[in-house]
Structure formats: structure tokens, C-alpha cells
Symmetry: C2
């Protein structure tokens, strides 16, 4: 839990109470996809005076320093999750918004094939797929 904090200092960043609070809020939901607004709400449960701008700036720093992953789930806002989990991707239900993980291994050699076809070197960014989840499928029968 202090790893994040130490990581910050190691990079010449200051360890402020706000950054601590934000990091702890993220640790408290290790598998969730949290929007900036979610993080603000969680942080304020214990530190009511932390400002929205501060949260945005801190999340940006965490992402830049590799502590957090910023994920585009197709909506109008960004989501954040702790880095260092098993590498995975997302399938988002277009009906109910549920987000499900897809193991990276499921992609097989897709990455290689795309790189061969396009000449790009793909980044580590997570990939978002869209569809309808099983319970929404059942509900529409």
C-alpha cells in the first residue's frame, strides 16, 4: 500500500496527504473501474476537502508513472484501474453497461498479426469490445 507512495517519491514527486488519500481510495477497490468522479466521491468520504482538480491532476500523474491504467470504455468519461493486474481487455454491454474482462491470452497472436499487416507497433493499451451481455440477451427473448 505504500508502494504507490514510494513510487511517487522515487520519481521526484511530493507525497502529499491528498495523493495518499487518492491512492488509498484506489486500493480500496482493486478490481473496479472508477471514473474521476467516483474517485472524488470515495476520497471525500475520508478527506472531504480534496478538490476535483487535484484528483484529475493526481490521476494523470499516476497514469503517467505507470501506477494506474486509464481505460476508454466507450462512454463520455475515462475510467481508471490499478496497473499490475493480469493483463486484460474489456467487453462492454451496450444495453446495461456491464463491463467484463477478457484475458489477454484470448487474443492469441492477434497483436502480431496486426503488427505484421499494418507495420504499427501496438501499445499496451487495453482493447474495448462491445456487445450484449448474457443476461441482457436472455431478457430480450
Amino acid at each position: 500500500m505504500v508502494e504507490g507512495a514510494d513510487n511517487l517519491r522515487r520519481r521526484g514527486r511530493r507525497l502529499t496527504p491528498q495523493r495518499r488519500a487518492i491512492w488509498e481510495a484506489l486500493l480500496a477497490e482493486p478490481h473496479e473501474h472508477l471514473s474521476a468522479e467516483d474517485v472524488v466521491a470515495r476520497v471525500r468520504e475520508r478527506s472531504p476537502n480534496v478538490n476535483t482538480s487535484t484528483v484529475y491532476r493526481t490521476l494523470e500523474i499516476f497514469v503517467h508513472d505507470g501506477l494506474l491504467l486509464r481505460t476508454d470504455l466507450g462512454g463520455d468519461r475515462a475510467y481508471y484501474e490499478l496497473a499490475g493486474e493480469h493483463r486484460h481487455h474489456h467487453v462492454i454491454c451496450e444495453r446495461c453497461g456491464t463491463v467484463t474482462h477478457v484475458h489477454d491470452e484470448t487474443l492469441g497472436d492477434l497483436r502480431t498479426r496486426i503488427e505484421r499487416d499494418t507495420g504499427y507497433r501496438l501499445s499496451d493499451r487495453e482493447i474495448s469490445f462491445f456487445g450484449t451481455c448474457s443476461s441482457c440477451l436472455r431478457a430480450s427473448d
Copy 2:
């Protein structure tokens, strides 16, 4: 070129000069990814009085009626392209923004595997991959 127009009427939509103009602007760039603002600019070259709201509303209708594909290229705005092209996906260069197509066949049986793993039924939405294009790779050597 009138197919789009007829499609509209067939669905009980009115065929207005604005919709014609917007459709023609889209047809003029059959392989481009145009933002709403791009479309506004192109439309106004010939029809200077078409309103931004009208363009947004019309694009939404075209997407809903299957004439257009709305694509999320990872930035802060949506892009549109004519439907009915070869099914494909996108790789976006995180350095320079270039967008390259990936044939759907490149995905192989990925769709099936994801559906089997997750229980979702995937939609036809295009998939966005991110990386660095070959010329940016070369430039960074």
C-alpha cells in the same frame, strides 16, 4: 447517391435540402473519417446556412438508419464513415494520429472466442487498436 435519400424516405423520414447536402458531403469523401465539425465545414462550402445542430441530428439519424458508422478513435470526438464498405477496424497512431484500417479477417475467430469466453454477443461496432505507426517508429530511431 440517391440510395441514401431513398433510404430515408423509406423509413418515413423527410428528405430536406440539409439532409441531401450532408449526405452528399459524406459521399464526397467515401473513405475518410470525418468528425461532425468536418462535416459541417464540408457542407457549408455549398450550403453555408446549415446549422451545427442540424448536422449532429442528421448524423445521428444516418447512424441509426445504418447509413453511417460512428467510430470512436480514442480522441474526444466522434468520427463518421459511410457504412457498406468492407468491414474493417482501426489502428490509431498515438504519436501522430494517423488511422489505418485492419481487415476484419485479420481478427480470425477472435469474435467467436470472446463470445465463448464471456457469454456476450458482440456487436458490429468497429474495434480500435492503438500503437505507433511505422513512420513514427522510424522517426524515433
